[in-house]
């Protein structure tokens, strides 16, 4: 009886003493993010997606020089935008640690954008898209999507000199901050590589990139 009551007392003491003061907590989610005003607004500026040193997708919005180039027609301003992305960050962007992470573009005229038959837009680049890392593909997809429409919902199919990637949409807000995948990952070992064509319709940019990298693997 003494042992039992001692245990009860000990438990009570733990409950009382252990709970004193202000305890630490885990990270607790509390409400939505803070919505800020950006200017120029996304709809009236040139939206490019660069990358941070931590491998995050970082949107920048530049003032457009001159008039908007017919925003309603698919693929109208895309070659200009893509060329600006490949040209790399401006000095103020570089100061914030932003980079483009893309290879040099051999020729500006080589970028072409046409409506894709299954919806969206197909952009042809004069580079090997199979060599691009996930983040680079997402940068391209999001930059093109936000050029095509204000909300960046247009599916984008990238075609390079080597292969064409599966159509992808810019759902970057879900993938924000995800660590960059190793670009050298042998995707051929993944079973999804062969069936990505059927099942990857709503797949993310990474998944599309991964799916199309599979056939081009060693």
């Amino acid at each position: 009886m003494r042992r039992r009551s001692a245990a009860v007392l000990a438990g009570l003491a733990t409950l009382l003493l252990g709970g004193c003061g202000v305890p630490e907590t885990d990270v607790i989610e509390a409400g939505g993010p803070a919505t800020v005003q950006v200017f120029p607004e996304a709809s009236s500026g040139l939206v490019l997606f660069l990358r941070s040193p931590d491998g995050e997708l970082m949107p920048v919005i530049r003032f457009l020089e001159g008039e908007l180039e017919e925003p309603d027609s698919p693929g109208a301003g895309t070659p200009t935008t893509v060329a600006a992305l490949f040209a790399g960050p401006l000095p103020n962007e570089r100061r914030a640690g932003l980079t483009d992470g893309l290879p040099e573009l051999p020729g500006r005229t080589a970028v072409r954008a046409v409506p894709y038959r299954e919806g969206g837009v197909e952009v042809t680049l004069p580079i090997a898209v199979g060599d691009l890392d996930d983040l680079a593909v997402r940068q391209l997809v999001c930059t093109i999507a936000f050029t095509e429409d204000d909300e960046g919902l247009t599916p984008v199919r990238l075609r390079g000199t080597d292969t064409a990637l599966e159509p992808a949409v810019c759902d970057e807000d879900i993938d924000l901050g995800r660590l960059p995948r190793p670009t050298t990952a042998p995707a051929a070992s993944s079973p999804s590589g062969s069936q990505g064509g059927q099942g990857g319709r709503r797949g993310s940019a990474d998944q599309a990139a991964q799916d199309d990298q599979a056939p081009s693997g060693p």
Binding site: S5, V8, L9, L12, L15, L16, G19, C20, G21, V22, P23, E24, T25, D26, V27, I28, E29, A30, G31, G32, P33, A34, T35, V36, Q37, V38, F39, E41, A42, S43, V47, S52, P53, D54, E56, L57, M58, P59, V60, I61, N92, E93, R95, A96, G97, L98, F146, D149, D150, E151, G152, L153, E172, D173, L176, G177, R178
Partner: protein, 491 residues
């Protein structure tokens, strides 16, 4: 406890009272502690929750008022942070920002040591506000992570890549929580103290009947069979008290009947002795005449006459002894103490019986004792007579004084003979009435009551008598120990 304290009556460390009080205190402690703890937790969570919600909401509101370019300009960012830092609610806070490789803050250092990697990771990977309470060096901090998003088109928000952190000290909340602890403790401790009162009352209500029962049992044991307990209430203890009373009543009746039967038997023996005494006196007077005339009778008749005379004398002694024993049994024997010289008393006893030449006396002079001379004479005479009859000569009487176990002075009288000793199986019964050591010798000179009368006389003096065999089993030794000063020692 007013009774004298016997071994069983001291306070036990885990007696009923202690156990009851402990049980009460335990229950009180558990209930008070649990209530206090639960109340405390709720109150604390409310205090902290209010502060946190206010802080997170106001931080979000502050950040939402920002307008910015993308990319961020480091110097402009710092100004913005200082502006937000001034508007901390409910308490001032430090604001930190991360954008690309830019680390800016409203404080001197661009990064905080309080913000944990977990919070940074959550704030950067998850488009939600989040907070974490951190205790660093004993100071609790609330850290809030708030990613900034911008509106793209009508229905879509995109992360700007800018994440703001606020670090707020929770000193006031800590003080409030500590005040809660103090309040909980101050509430619980008097509760415990108050619980002591019913505990003691309950213990008392149980212990009092138990104590009465105990007292009554003690009283019964010491012979007061009319002891009864007042049975109050209808609980188990009252039942026990009633049972005790019934048993005591039955016991009293049984003992009463036994005593009455015994008294009747004693009175009968006493009456018989008395009734026999009168005719015996007459017969003794006649036998003296017969003894004188016997010489003139023919030899056979003379032997018969002498036998009748001798047996009549023994019968007279037996009747006298019986009457003496009856007086002891009836508690009618009285001590008439007198200051005497012990050696002198014994010497007189031996002279009156004409034993001086047959008994060796070792009697130191000058031992003054207070005792009943007549009864002491009976004791010595019975023991010496017994030794002379059953033991072998020489018979020795020794007298000395000794200190008793409780420090009183004792008068020790030893009567030793040189006979064959007492067989071991007889020793325990040697003082029994009519006990014959030698079963074959049915006829003896004694009445069979001598040693019993000796025992009663010694007892009356508050002393003891014991029989033993001397060294090497030769000769019996009877030792009488009596207080040297009988009347005074008892008083």
């Amino acid at each position: 406890m007013r009774l004298r304290r016997t071994a069983g009556e001291r306070r036990r460390p885990f007696g009923l009272r202690t156990r009851l009080v402990l049980a009460f205190l335990l229950v009180a402690a558990v209930s008070a502690g649990t209530t206090a703890a639960l109340t405390f937790r709720e109150a604390r969570n409310a205090v902290l929750g209010t502060a946190q919600d206010t802080a997170v909401a106001s931080f979000r509101e502050q950040v939402q008022q920002l307008g910015m370019e993308l990319p961020q300009d480091p110097t402009g960012l710092q100004d913005v942070l200082r502006d937000i830092a001034r508007k901390g609610k409910p308490h001032p806070w430090y604001v930190y920002a991360e954008y690309g490789s830019i680390r800016a803050s409203s404080a001197a250092a661009p990064t905080s040591t309080v913000i944990t990697p977990e919070l940074r990771r959550t704030a950067r990977s998850n488009p939600h506000g989040s907070f974490e309470r951190v205790v660093k060096d004993g100071v609790p901090y609330l850290t809030i992570g708030m990613p900034a998003v911008f509106r793209a088109g009508a229905n879509r928000v995109m992360p700007t890549g800018l994440v703001l952190f606020a670090v707020m000290r929770m000193s006031e909340e800590q003080a409030g929580v500590e005040a809660l602890v103090v309040a909980a403790r101050d509430g619980a401790l008097p509760g415990l103290a108050i619980a002591l009162v019913p505990a003691l009352v309950a213990a008392r209500s149980v212990l009092r009947p138990v104590r009465e029962l105990r007292k009554a049992a003690l009283s019964m044991g010491s012979g007061r069979l009319d002891t009864r307990i007042q049975a109050r209430g209808s609980d188990e203890l009252a039942d026990l008290a009633r049972t005790f009373n019934e048993s005591a009543g039955q016991l009293e009746r049984s003992v009463d009947e036994l005593q009455q039967a015994e008294a009747r038997a004693r009175r009968f023996a006493s009456d018989v002795s008395h009734e026999l005494r009168t005719p015996l006196s007459g017969m003794l007077a006649v036998t003296e005449v017969l003894d004188e005339e016997a010489e003139r009778l023919d030899p056979d008749t003379a032997r018969a006459v002498r036998l009748i005379s001798a047996e009549t004398g023994k019968l007279a002694v037996l009747v006298e002894d019986l009457m003496e024993i009856s007086r002891f049994d009836a508690r009618a024997a009285e001590l008439n103490t007198d200051e005497v010289d012990a050696a002198e008393t014994i010497r007189k006893t031996l002279e009156h019986r004409r034993w001086t030449d047959r008994v060796r006396a070792d009697l130191p002079e000058g031992i003054r004792a207070r005792l009943d001379p007549r009864r002491f004479d009976v004791v010595v005479a019975n023991l010496v007579g017994n030794a002379l009859r059953h033991g072998g000569a020489p018979v020795t009487v020794r007298l000395r004084t000794a200190a008793g176990g409780d420090g009183t002075a004792l008068l020790v009288t030893e009567v030793a003979d040189s006979g064959p000793g007492i067989p071991p199986e007889v020793l325990p019964h040697i003082f029994d009435r009519f006990y014959k050591a030698d079963a074959a010798r049915t006829r003896s000179a004694g009445s069979g009551l001598g040693l019993a009368i000796t025992l009663e006389n010694v007892r009356l003096h508050g002393g003891t008598v014991r029989a033993a065999n001397g060294p090497e089993g030769r000769g019996a030794v009877f030792t009488v120990e009596m207080p040297l000063r009988v009347g005074e020692a008892v008083a």
